[in-house]
Symmetry: C2
Subunit: 341 residues, 2 copies
Amino acid sequence: MPKVVVDIFGADNSPHEIVAGCVLALEKTKDVSLVLTGSKELIEAELKKHSGVDYSRVEIVHASEVITNHDAPSNAIKQKLDSSLVKALERTKSDDDVAGMVSAGSTGAVLIGGIFKVGRIKGISRPALCPLLPTSLGGHVALIDGGSNVDCKPEFLTQFAMMGSIYAQSRGVENPRVGLVNVGVEDKKGNELTHAAFPLLKEMDINFVGNMEARDALSGNYDVLVADGFIGNVLLKSVEGTALMIMKRLKDTIMESTSAKIGAMFMKGAFKKFKGMMDYSQLGGAPFLGVEKILIKSHGSSKATSIAASIQQVIDMDKANLIEKIREGVQGEKKIESTQE
Amino acid sequence: MPKVVVDIFGADNSPHEIVAGCVLALEKTKDVSLVLTGSKELIEAELKKHSGVDYSRVEIVHASEVITNHDAPSNAIKQKLDSSLVKALERTKSDDDVAGMVSAGSTGAVLIGGIFKVGRIKGISRPALCPLLPTSLGGHVALIDGGSNVDCKPEFLTQFAMMGSIYAQSRGVENPRVGLVNVGVEDKKGNELTHAAFPLLKEMDINFVGNMEARDALSGNYDVLVADGFIGNVLLKSVEGTALMIMKRLKDTIMESTSAKIGAMFMKGAFKKFKGMMDYSQLGGAPFLGVEKILIKSHGSSKATSIAASIQQVIDMDKANLIEKIREGVQGEKKIESTQE
């Protein structure tokens, strides 16, 4: 039975929603056991609020400290050794039965902790966040790097492409279409980085379909988008910001008109469904790809459903042998390099 | 009476919508005369479709060629000397009565033509596109550079900030709030470029409010967003792509439910109003700031209303003395530099 470690503290809704998410995951999936890190007293108090918890599949690892968004990430990982996050990372690293972990805490601390406590997969230069975004066609597109590494070298981008492809495959996408985020679709478009990365991506054993204009990012024509972490973060956050702006202005426009308000009552169900589709936290969190275990960064404001989805992600990625496939991917790269030499 | 040059060809809806936009502008504003460039025969035929055109305020400059999106921009500007765009640029440059020009043709050709035919303002390193985006609060934010210059140096960004501020002021914004597009709001966030640009922006005589996360781009908390052209283009196009995706999925969701379809009938007026607000082409086009005359790049798919709005933009920017103020801005920069030496 795969084990998943869950960092209960450091998130906006800690500990109640995170514990509730764990309970939900235990109910949904019989074939998983959980390790919860954080204040034993508080976690036990939260668990007691739920009935029918299968305690045989729950272990609590006590931690007295919490890393918050106000802590400098690298200092926090070094100094708050009794924090729920550090305890979670250490257990994930040391226990062979642990498939991976979930945290909705400080993104910076999770990423730095992932590298220093769990460790990079040998040969991976830069692990990278790989969030999913909704597309026009009802599916999703994986964006790598979503913001972990700025000032990337072209070789980092090829590893992002490899890891993103493997991740998309693990989600059931055959022959994922990989696009390079750029300012136009023509081969010669771009800046120094994309000019250098383009030919490298073309040579790879992936389905690289060329440069992509950000207007097309959510069109459904791509399964994986590759970008420097600065660019990826701007893309990701622009999508979020635009969705917020549109929903706000749509609501304002509706509230100005009586007829529209009546219409909105008829559309309540559709609006709810639509909001659910847009809320990509329902899919779980963003995997941090390139470290030795599966590591899911859930949104800081995660609710129980999102935490349960993140736990399910670890289970699915473990079943798909994701880490092993990334290791093989790195080996494949080396083979190509040595053939070229 | 200010004169505005309009390039009639090279756009998706040339010549009919562009000519119709000119007619609309003449009707709306009595205090403007227009110079239309392109095939005299075709322009005259289009003008004849409209009644009550004030021909005393219309001049046609014949041009036999058209620059299309398939032409390599710099070659086209050099070789298609009898194109509607080159003729428009040359007239804009040479005629002191011309306040500026509008083109909905090839973006690349308009920008390169702007630099080589109209010329940079002395001291400006890189002219830059400055499109407007809608915000949650119902206003707009100017983004500079929207995509003209990749691999920018920190000094380019300070000039973008200066020009963007002056543009926002010309639109009636007092003390425009300038944000640096970044991966977080903290001072130390970012990549090499933003790290270097941040202190320079802080020293400037503008209302620099610090780093901005793209999630906040359309919040209404900023009047001007400064970015490298690659970043700016990704932001701009992500906003467009997200809006398209959301409208598509909202429509799909409504069409799946009878009740929602009924609701949509009540909301027809509100939806129409909302669509109008989102359609920023209604505001006109994006000015290309830093060249010697006002140059508005209208969207390739511009309709008559958008062309008329672009012509109005030239008139407004001319009234606000935009070019002169940018010249003064460059002088101001130099003074600061010499004080520092």
